[in-house]
């Protein structure tokens, strides 16, 4: 039996080893993945990010080289610190701090010592670089904005965060990704596809050469250039006009759905989000919770549309046949329903037909019309659903489903929406505010501009979009195929005639532009803020929508100026100027331009935060900009004629 001890031990050890091998290599082994293998260095070859051009072929965004000074602490030899610091424009303490940080990260691996050197500093430094062993210059590519306008349109790029990486494993730590604007919505087109090289390394992290002679390496695919629909001159002009105001201006070409201008005020210079100060500046913008410069008011600002919405009600009424264009409604300086009264600025006893109703923006006329629509079947519950369906066919109340990075749904109520508030009985008078574009209806400026485009086209629209062309690609069908509204073409003419009369002799009579038939509509919207938990009324929002020329429309525009009081005061002026600028290319109404540049609403915006009681609307005084600001704006006006520097 004694022979067995060694024999059995050998057999047992053999079995134990095979079992252990099975555990290590089969049971817990993970499939070989080059990306997980830390013996393989992955070196990425970043393609050129696509350029962005405006509709006239002007280059808006290009790339610029950026130079980072890198350090490998282990290889650093004693150096003339003073000279080096002077070249890098840092002081000695920073030098020591940065060096320690790099050394702490790894003595063997490169770390960024100073990032984003300017071209000039680079030129000087490069000459002397050989004196500083262990330091070298790494070239990277950053965005280079050729202009100071369109921050909200163009957006910016920044380093990916963990969420980006989780969603799309294409991105690795340190990669750049579009964060806002078209940089975000056309990220995949602009970025291209990075190439990758697999390099075998040893345990000291040194490169040994390409893995399998580069069999798995890929070459980068260049990013594609894109042309956007923005007219940079019009955009620059719009941004100038909106200086010292808050709100949005959005202009669409009705025949194509192309967005000509998209202004969100206040805005900022896109160049401040490039390079060394990006995070500092971004934080500053992000933390400005009062002016909200990062909030794209043309796309995300949800406002009650006010009087422009009356156009909608007129169209629906005609379509539903509850009113004819010539039918008149008598206004008693307001509209009485039940024991309540909706005021109107018409004189008592005025007879309004549809055209004059639009022209004078008569509340009584539209309250009557709205009730007729809802009560057509004798049941407001089904009536409001019909109404809602018509409104939604103009692209209101939902996302436009376009190629913009942001958006908001707005709100177009139907019976289901009101179920919470009025579970049982439901009469047309309950929602009478909708007649004049207040109450539960809410839209964004771009939705309203799109509504006007559909009116200009007499019944259809193209989804508003920002892309004009992509190198070697056709646009998706959703941007080139017309979407028809539920209103017949014939019903548009009386409404458009009314809008023309708004300019001819109605609420915007003072804003006429010579030789252009503009069709417009003013809007003045009450609004409230919660101040110290008290609902407080603020000065009305000034709203204006328009398209021009009446026949063969070239531009449809919506302008929102927060707290600008009545529609033609701020928004109307801006709309007229934008239309003239777009159609003629020059301004004849210099008086309007002058007035807009001269006036600021900053004091108005400061009121709710002053902590003191304040006056609104009629009791406010208009604020003039001071001389230095005025001079600055005039200079800007000059350069805005040629916004590409």
């Amino acid at each position: 039996m004694r022979q067995l001890l060694l024999f059995v031990s050998i057999i047992l050890v053999g079995l134990l080893f095979i079992f252990r091998l099975f555990y290590l290599q089969v049971y817990t082994s993970n499939e070989h993945d080059l990306f997980d293998d830390n013996a393989i260095r992955k070196v990425y070859d970043y393609p050129k990010r696509g350029f962005v051009y405006d509709r006239n072929g002007e280059l808006l965004v290009a790339n610029q080289p950026s130079y980072d000074v890198m350090v490998i602490p282990r290889e650093v030899e004693p150096l003339d610190t003073l000279e080096f610091c002077a070249l890098l424009k840092i002081d000695k303490e920073q030098f020591i701090k940065k060096y320690k940080k790099a050394r702490h990260y790894s003595p063997r691996l490169p770390s960024v010592f100073v990032s984003h050197m300017s071209k000039e500093d680079y030129a000087v430094l490069q000459e002397k670089m050989r004196k500083f062993n262990g330091f070298y210059i790494q070239k990277r590519s950053l965005r280079h904005y050729q202009t100071t306008i369109g921050a909200n349109v163009l957006g910016d790029i920044g380093e990916v965060n963990n969420r980006n990486i989780k969603i799309d494993p294409y991105y690795k730590m340190g990669d750049l990704i579009g964060k806002q604007g078209i940089e975000a919505s056309y990220e995949k087109t602009l970025r291209g596809i990075k190439g990758i090289k697999f390099i075998q390394k040893d345990r000291f992290n040194r490169n040994l050469g390409p893995y399998k002679s580069g069999k798995f390496d890929t070459i980068p695919e260049q990013g594609k250039d894109i042309t956007i629909t923005i007219d940079s001159k019009l955009q620059a002009y719009g941004e100038l006009l909106m200086q010292n105001k808050r709100g949005g201006v959005i202009a669409i070409e009705p025949s194509t759905g192309e967005i000509l201008t998209m202004v969100a005020a206040p805005t900022y210079d896109p160049n401040i989000l490039v390079g060394r100060d990006r995070s500092k500046n971004f934080t500053k913008l992000y933390n400005d919770t009062i002016a909200k410069p990062l909030f794209n008011r043309s796309l995300k600002g949800v406002y009650e549309p006010g009087s422009p919405f009356k156009l909608m009600n007129a169209l629906i009424a005609l379509q539903e046949g509850v009113i004819t264009p010539n039918e008149t409604v008598t206004c008693y300086a307001g509209y009485k329903y039940g024991n309540r009264f909706m005021k109107c600025h018409c004189y008592i006893g005025k007879h309004n037909d549809m055209i004059s109703g639009i022209q004078e923006s008569c509340n009584a006329y539209f309250a009557t019309t709205y009730r007729k629509i809802l009560d057509k079947e004798g049941n407001a519950s089904t009536g409001i659903d019909t109404w809602s369906k018509h409104v939604k066919s103009f692209g209101l109340g939902n996302f436009l489903n376009n190629d913009l990075f942001e958006g908001a749904k707005g709100r177009i109520p139907d019976r289901a929406y009101y179920k919470r508030i009025y579970p049982k009985t439901f009469y047309s008078t309950y929602t009478i505010s909708n007649a004049i574009g207040q109450g539960e209806v809410a839209t964004t400026p771009i939705q309203l501009a799109n509504m006007i485009a559909a009116i200009a086209n007499r019944g259809y629209y193209y989804t508003p979009h920002i892309i004009k062309s992509i190198e070697g690609k056709t646009l998706p069908e959703k941007f080139t195929k017309a979407k028809y509204t539920t209103i017949d073409k014939a019903h548009f003419e009386p409404v458009i005639e009314g809008m023309l009369q708004v300019y001819k002799k109605g609420t915007a009579a003072s804003l006429q532009v010579k030789d252009i038939d503009i069709c417009g509509k003013t809007g003045t919207v009450e609004n409230f803020a919660i101040i110290d938990s008290l609902k407080t009324q603020l000065t009305d929002h000034s709203i204006f929508v328009a398209f021009a020329p009446k026949n063969d429309p070239k531009i449809a525009i919506a302008v929102f100026v927060e707290n600008g009081y009545w529609g033609s005061r701020f928004a109307g002026r801006i709309a007229s100027l934008m239309i003239e600028k777009h159609i003629k290319g020059y301004i004849t109404r210099k008086d309007l331009e002058e007035w807009i540049l001269r006036h600021s609403l900053e004091e108005e915006y400061a009121k709710p935060y002053s902590g003191e009681p304040f006056r609104i609307n009629r009791q406010t005084k208009l604020q003039l900009v001071d001389d230095s600001e005025y001079k600055r704006l005039k200079r800007l006006l000059k350069t805005s004629q040629n916004p590409i520097n």
Binding site: R2, Q3, L5, L6, F7, S9, I10, I11, V13, G14, L16, F17, I18, R20, L21, F22, L24, Q25, V26, T28, S29, N30, E31, H32, D37, A39, I40, Q200, K201, D202, R203, L208, G209, Y211, K212
Partner: protein, 425 residues
């Protein structure tokens, strides 16, 4: 197996074939682990794989010489061989060259020779001679001590040269002595001590003592006629003392790096931060070698395709950690192949040893199997993380001239003795 009586084919070809399979496969892995990506020059002195080619060529000379010598020579001159070998170990204290903290090498020009490798064969011969002596009775305490001394001398000498791994190898002779009649209580005591030590380190001395006491009392209860209570209590006292002794030894006498190795092996360290720190420091080799083996998967990355091997992530990969190369490049299939080759070789030698008619040949054969077995157990076990890190090579497989030649001598002396079996009547 029926052997051909023809003189030229009397050697045990199975052993010889297994021997060359291991040496050849070993060389392929050394090549993979040590080549630097440039053109391969098979006989260059500048690269380990080139040197190993030369070492392998020289083994043929050694084999011819060993097989050419009369079989009786080894028995007759075993004492002298042993003496010379011991002198060569002692000589290291004067002329030795220090490599990695161990003074185990003679430097002859650019070549180094490690006498401790050869001492194993010499000791095996001496032990065989001692036991097969007609006057020796292994049950006699005096003879036991004499045999122990033969084994202890080289073990102590290499321990003094800081070569702990080689010292442990001399434990292999326990299998030999046990086979030849060493009283059974040695086995019981040996196994009990090992189990008790592991229990004491893993669960603490108190737990270990309590477990031991319960078992001993249980044994006493069922064997009351054979064992007195006093004896049982005495054994309990001893095992308790041993438990605390082991703990004291671990805390007080072992060097920190040895403590760390044991603590890693027994998974005593639970703090993930400290475990990470261990992986970066002393357990770096082990961690990298386990990773390399793991990354091989079922069928391996293929010869010369292992990224961790090419990147030399496992230090000492061509010597002690050669098995991790097999793991990465040949996968589970290749590793199992190597394990099975070793098992077959060991069983073959064991089988032949049992067939021997002369006690000298049998004891020597047993010694050969036991020595290779211990090497195999410790090396492969260590590389796979089953055994604390102990630096000894994988026989026939690892890079190194001394090791290869020593194992060649060890095995081929036995093949020669075995070939002479027919004449032994």
């Amino acid at each position: 197996m029926v052997r051909d009586t023809n003189r030229h084919f009397k050697f045990d070809w199975i052993t010889i074939i297994l021997f060359f399979l291991l040496v050849g496969f070993g060389w392929l892995n050394i090549l993979s682990a040590s080549h630097t990506g440039t053109d391969i020059d098979y006989f260059t002195f500048s690269q380990p794989y080139g040197k190993q080619s030369i070492f392998i060529l020289l083994t043929f000379c050694i084999i011819i010489v060993i097989l050419g010598i009369e079989a009786k020579f080894y028995e007759r001159f075993s004492s002298i061989i042993y003496l010379v070998s011991m002198l060569s170990l002692v000589g290291l204290f004067i002329f030795g060259k220090n490599v990695n903290g161990a003074t185990s090498w003679y430097a002859i020009g650019s070549m180094t020779l490690q006498p401790s490798e050869f001492a194993k064969a010499a000791t095996a011969l001496a032990v065989a001679k001692q036991i097969s002596d007609l006057n020796t009775n292994i049950n006699n305490i005096k003879d036991q001590i004499q045999t122990f001394i033969i084994i202890i001398i080289p073990a102590l000498l290499v321990l003094l040269q800081n070569d702990t791994g080689s010292t442990i190898v001399y434990g292999a002779f326990f299998f030999v002595l046990y086979r030849e009649g060493l009283p059974k209580y040695y086995l019981s005591i040996g196994v009990s001590v090992i189990i008790l030590s592991v229990l004491a380190l893993k669960f603490g001395a108190l737990t270990a003592s309590i477990i031991a006491s319960i078992l001993i009392l249980g044994y006493y209860y069922f064997n009351r006629k054979k064992v007195t209570l006093f004896q049982a209590l005495f054994v309990i006292l001893i095992s308790t003392g041993l438990s605390y002794g082991v703990k004291l030894f671990y805390d007080g006498i072992l060097k920190p790096h040895q403590q760390d190795r044991i603590s890693l092996w027994l998974r005593l360290e639970k703090d993930p931060d400290k475990l990470e720190a261990m992986k970066r420091t002393f357990a770096y080799n082990l961690n990298e070698s386990e990773k390399a083996i793991r990354s091989g998967g079922f069928s391996g990355r293929g010869f010369m395709e292992g990224t961790r091997t090419t990147g030399k992530f496992v230090p000492e990969q061509h010597t002690d950690y050669i098995f991790s190369t097999v793991g990465e490049e040949w996968g589970f299939l290749g590793c199992s192949f190597v394990v099975i080759l070793f098992i077959l070789l060991l069983l073959r030698i064991l089988h032949l040893a049992e067939l021997q008619k002369s006690q000298f040949s049998r004891v020597y054969g047993y010694g050969v199997a036991a020595i290779i077995f211990i090497h195999f157990l410790i090396n492969v076990g260590m590389v796979m993380g089953l055994i604390p890190t102990i630096g000894i090579p994988l026989p026939l497989f690892s890079y190194g001239g001394s090791g290869l030649w020593a194992f060649t001598i060890l095995i081929f002396i036995f093949i020669k003795l075995d070939s002479n079996r027919i004449n032994e009547w």
